[in-house]
């Protein structure tokens, strides 16, 4: 029996894209090999093309109405559920992070921090309006409110921190009701796809988060120029490439976010949430 077990063929996971709640291969049929820090082969990741970008934007746009229309309380529940599901796969994420060069303790610390970050952002869902919105004093018979609303479809170029960094850029974008297209870290894309498996089993509607793996320099310009994308987060883009992308993003006046520094262990603050919010002010007559 034991001899038979050692003869067993390895069953390897195919890492695909995550678009509209499904796991398609790249439309281009391409893939690229991912190695660990010692250059040993880990898996082939999908090498997404501009058509996958287009499909992901369509999926994100389709999901936007439903996701932004949910109550903040419900979005909080779903984000918390994602944290619960992550917790259940703790060991798997630790193993994947160790392939990227982290020690056992570092990996465990990062997974814990990532789970805690989901929970932290989940708590913000029904509080951000009260913190960033206002009842404004005006000299007239009106109630005057300013309320934050989601920007829309947000493209995110994720940083190379394969789990904590990824979570720290996705969670603040979606907690307020935006939908996202995420380009995962190029050298370490595998945890992003495993995260997609978590998302697919966490009550998160398909299309709210779409994850692409591939070359940033190939995909980011298509997202920056896409007329149906409302904002772009350039966190994972090299400094020298940012200027071009910013210029392209001006085509439809996208909101562009690029943080000066990124230490993912720091207290994140609300900056990443407010970066993708629009303020709507309503004048409502008193006594009508």
């Amino acid at each position: 029996m034991s001899e038979r077990m050692t003869d067993r063929l390895a069953v390897r996971k195919t890492y695909k894209l995550y678009i509209g709640g499904a796991f398609p291969r790249s439309e281009s049929g391409r893939s690229y090999p991912v190695t660990d820090t010692k250059d040993r082969f880990l898996a082939n990741a999908s090498h997404a093309s501009r058509k996958d970008v287009r499909d992901a934007v369509t999926a994100a746009r389709k999901a936007f109405g439903g996701w932004s229309g949910r109550t903040a309380y419900n979005r909080a529940q779903i984000l918390y559920r994602i944290a619960e599901m992550l917790e259940g796969r703790r060991d798997q994420f630790i193993t994947e992070l160790r392939h990227t060069g982290a020690s056992k303790t570092q990996a465990a610390t990062e997974v814990d921090a990532a789970i805690d970050r989901w929970v932290w952002y989940a708590g913000w869902a029904d509080k951000i309006t009260t913190v960033t919105g206002a009842a404004n004093p005006v000299s007239g018979p009106y109630f005057n409110f300013s309320t934050p609303e989601p920007t829309g479809v947000v493209a995110v170029v994720a940083p190379d921190s394969p789990l904590l960094g990824l979570v720290s850029v996705i969670a603040p974008a979606i907690v307020t009701g935006n939908t996202t297209i995420v380009i995962a870290s190029e050298p370490a894309p595998l945890p992003a796809i495993t995260l997609a498996e978590v998302l697919a089993t966490s009550d998160l509607p398909g299309g709210v988060i779409n994850i692409l793996t591939g070359h940033r320099t190939e995909l980011a310009p298509w997202l920056a120029s896409h007329m149906d994308v409302n904002a772009i987060d350039l966190t994972g883009v090299a400094h020298e490439d940012r200027r071009d992308l910013e210029e392209t993003a001006a085509g439809n006046l996208k909101r562009v976010h690029h943080p000066a520094t990124t230490d993912w262990a720091d207290d994140p603050g609300t900056a990443r949430m407010t970066a993708f919010l629009e303020t709507k002010t309503v004048w409502h007559p008193v006594g009508v």
């Binding site: 934007v57 120029s225 896409h226 007329m227 149906d228 994308v229 085509g251």
Partner: protein, 303 residues
């Protein structure tokens, strides 16, 4: 021609190879149309669109807006061709005719108790005459599917002849409602029946029944018009309607036309696409080709 002869003729038509038709349609749908060929296909598809609004909630304002869009699909780009026709209910024909005056765009009206066709013949003819009197240049009639399915081909034939007579100069499109005919054999029979009764166009569906137009059904109908012209010398047009939503869908139909009936049918005079939402997708793809960046639905009108 007697009813018995008609029945004998229709049942004497060769059966459709279902697997073969579906396989052929799927194979033609996998053709890759890119760059300059795609740009041409998009313009051709736009010029073939019968821009349609057939809702109970239609208002004169909505029809006027649709007509404006028909004449200038993309107001920011005058090189976009205009669509072939606007398709409305009979009571909206007058509004559409007035809005489209001088544009050369036709007004098509559904008639004969669309979409079910369940009304006395007199009512159907009155419906048709009213639409023609209001200025419709094309009439889209529905066949009596109940009569067809119960084998009463004579009734279906006579009704088409009567409606054709009521049309006068207007073109007659006969809607087979293939989603209710169930088999491809029935689609082939209904196509021949309609053509022999005098149809100028045969149209797949009302858009109110699912499935609406599909590629294999259109393939069977295109074969029918090809064979009919070979037999009689008279050319009949084809119009798939319903369920055509993307540029890719539209281009698949164009390939199917070219490969089945032939390039003679590749003009708005002989082939139409009954749709509304496909136009925005065609415009978005057109802009992608001309600007190089993906466009979004925010930049085109809602309709």
């Amino acid at each position: 021609m007697t009813v018995t002869e008609l029945q004998g003729f229709l049942h004497g038509l060769p059966g459709v190879d279902q697997v073969g038709a579906e396989e052929r349609a799927a194979r033609l749908a996998s053709r890759s149309i890119k760059t300059s060929a795609k740009a041409e296909a998009i313009d051709l598809a736009i010029s073939m669109v019968d821009l349609t609004t057939l809702e109970g909630a239609d208002t004169a304002g909505k029809v006027r807006a649709l007509c404006a869009k028909a004449a200038h699909p993309d107001p920011s780009d005058p090189s976009v061709p205009k669509v072939a026709a606007v398709c409305v209910y009979p009571d909206m024909v007058e509004v559409a005719v007035r809005s489209l005056e001088g544009t050369g765009i036709g007004v098509a009206s559904v008639a004969t108790a669309f979409p079910s066709g369940r009304a006395p013949l007199e009512a159907k003819l009155a419906d048709t005459r009213a639409a023609v009197a209001a200025g419709a240049s094309e009439i889209d009639m529905v066949i009596d599917r109940g009569a067809f399915l119960s084998g009463d081909y004579g009734t279906v034939f006579e009704q088409i002849v009567a409606v054709k007579d009521a049309c006068g100069d207007a073109h007659l499109k006969v809607i087979l409602e293939t989603g209710e005919l169930v088999t491809y054999d029935n689609v082939r029979r209904a196509s021949w029946l309609a053509m022999r009764a005098g149809a100028d166009f045969i149209k797949t569906s009302t858009g109110k029944v699912s499935p609406a137009a599909t590629l294999p059904v259109t393939l069977v109908m295109l074969e029918a018009v090809r064979d009919y012209r070979a037999a009689t010398g008279r050319q009949v047009g084809v119009k798939p309607a319903g369920g055509i939503r993307t540029t890719k869908d539209a281009i698949k139909y164009l390939v199917l036309v070219n490969e089945t009936a032939g390039p003679d049918w590749l003009t708005p005079h002989w082939f139409r696409l009954g749709a509304s939402s496909v136009l925005n997708d065609l415009l978005m793809q057109r802009r992608k080709l001309s600007t190089g960046v993906y466009s979004g639905p925010d930049y085109f009108t809602l309709d």
